[in-house]
Amino acid sequence: MAEAPVLAVRNLRKHFVQRKGFPNPVTVTVRAVDDISFAIRPGEAFGLVGESGCGKSTAARALLRLIEPDAGSVTYRGEDVLAARGGALKLLRRKLQIVFQDPYSSLNPRRTIAQTLVEPMQVHGLARGADALARARALLDEVGLPAAALDRYPHEFSGGQRQRIGIARALAVEPELIIADEPVSALDVSIQAQVLMLLKDLQARRHLAFLFVSHDLGVVRWFCQRVAVMYLGRIVEEGPVEDVLHEPLHPYARVLRDASPVPDPALRAALPRIEGEIPSAANPPAGCHFHPRCPRALPACRESFPATTEPAPGRRVACHLYPAEDRASVR
């Protein structure tokens, strides 16, 4: 890692505690995000993949403090995001932006596109009046929408167009890192490609870093440089996208990769299956969370959660198949 990371996340944790039942309430702790660590370099697109419910969206929200995390640290260029208050937090909010999955609920139906784009600039004192409107027009142009869109309301646009508006809104405060939470999963496949092209374009033009949360390995392979695979609140493998998806080390990453369909009819029969359902995050299996479904489980997997090791340069994995003796442990 030559360049200093733009965003460093260390041991981020978010547990949801629920008390249910009467007259004897039972406390249920859902370990949505359990001690995850990763770093994103400037201009890099970092993928976070995993099944539904593995905690990837919670992680994205926790590091932006849309949900307050329970423990861990998040630093943006050395600045502590989790301790920031008031003006310092507002300044950080400018630098870290988010694009949402659902383009229908992410825009206020009662506000015109102009209002939606100008408001963040005013709140952060970046521009006002005619100047702000000119900037809004430039933003729309940048995301491929005509200036005529300014006076319209969100319901007049399609899903793909709304997603572009959501991206423009995020860009309005000139962020350095955009958290894209499944930004294309709600769109038609043809529109997905356009929006991804746009994001890739912006990444290059504005030197933006991305945290790209997705369950779609194909999209992540195309968009990201590095990727982390999450399972039940933990990162099980991390590394360059080509290596991780081409030759996964962790059995879960392999199973996930193999379950992702390949557009080749010759390989149709070869699709393996993941055995069983994803366990509840409220009651994860002891030891390595993946061992009940793992094709290569060892006795040790039942006992303890594996430490994160670095079996190859730049690749980290949390699995007993790669014991720490081989190479120095990262943690």
Binding site: D102, L107, N108, H124, Q161, V189, G218, R221, V262
Partner: protein, 305 residues
């Protein structure tokens, strides 16, 4: 999508956007008016309300006599060409008093419901947005307030503070705060979960900005519809309080007060009670028709959304 998306040129992308454009839909307001139109009774209600409001505003021009002028010679005169609605026990013209009485009814109802909308709406928005124990405590306080019938609560407050116009307005608005708090809170709970609220927080907007600039416009229609329906209740409560002597003090003409004064001579001179009674009926009826029409027009089930 299994493979990497095929890169497309920018030209192809732009062309696809044009195809992507949906046909422009009718705006929210146009649709509302359409549904409002579908029901002629709501227009009748609006027309009646406008007539009553104009009568109140132009009472000095329309009234044939001074509503306070007493005349011993013209006591208890039945309706005639000189006195279209007759005269009361003090020889005052009933028509003039009915016209002026509309002012009190409208002022009290509008001021009280306006206050209740602002106070109740704010409580509901903040309570729903904050959530948790604060929300539970606020809503239980509202339930306690709501458990008193509005007439009884109004009566207690006016009896404590004294029968003045200002106290009357405060008393009636207080009884109407809980329903506004509830009607504002329910949609707030739904709206605050939408991603644009999260986007606002991510953009560093203050909670006040999110509540009043972003959530409020999305719950406004419910609150306004409720307001129209509660205006009718406020008119009724004001008339009732005046009737039992806790309204604006005599000799200021109020519809409820006129009906009470008419009681002594109700068998000999029923017109003194009938005309203010009809006026109350007309105003309450107009407000209910209007409120029902607005409610139907904003009801998502009837809009087919």
């Amino acid at each position: 999508m299994s493979a990497a998306p095929a890169p497309t040129g920018n030209g192809a992308e732009a062309a696809a956007i044009a195809e992507d454009s949906p046909a422009p839909r009718r705006g929210g307001l146009a649709r509302l008016v359409g549904l409002f139109n579908a029901n002629w009774t709501s227009w009748a209600g609006l027309a009646m309300l406008v007539v009553i409001v104009l009568m109140a505003i132009f009472a000095p021009l329309l009234a044939p006599y001074d509503p306070l002028d007493q005349s011993i010679l013209n006591r208890l005169k039945p309706p005639s060409a000189d006195f279209l609605m007759g005269t009361d026990a003090f020889g005052r013209d009933v028509l003039s008093r009915v016209l002026y009485g509309a002012r009190i009814s409208l002022i009290v109802a509008i001021a009280a419901i306006g206050l209740a909308m602002v106070a109740g709406g704010t409580i509901g928005l903040v309570s729903g947005y904050v959530g948790g124990r604060f929300d539970v405590a606020m809503m239980q306080a509202m339930d306690v307030l709501m458990s008193f019938p509005s007439l009884i609560l109004g009566l207690v407050i006016v009896a404590l503070l004294g029968p003045e116009l200002r106290n009357l307005i405060v008393a009636i608005s207080l009884t109407a705060v809980p329903p506004f708090a509830r009607i504002a809170r329910a949609p707030t709970l739904a709206v605050k979960e939408r991603a644009f609220v999260e986007a606002g927080r991510a953009l560093g907007f203050s909670h006040a900005r999110i509540i009043f600039v972003h959530i409020l416009p999305n719950v406004m229609s419910e609150v306004v519809v409720m307001g129209t329906l509660w205006l009718a209740t406020a008119v009724r409560v004001e008339a009732s309080l005046s009737f039992i002597g806790l309204g604006v003090k005599p000799p200021t003409p109020t519809w409820g007060g006129m009906m009470r004064d008419a009681f002594e001579n109700i068998l000999d001179a029923p017109w003194i009670a009938i005309y203010p009674g009809l006026a109350i009926l007309a105003l309450v009826f107009a407000l209910n028709l209007l409120g029902d029409g607005l409610r139907d027009a904003t009801d998502p089930k009837l809009r087919g959304e």
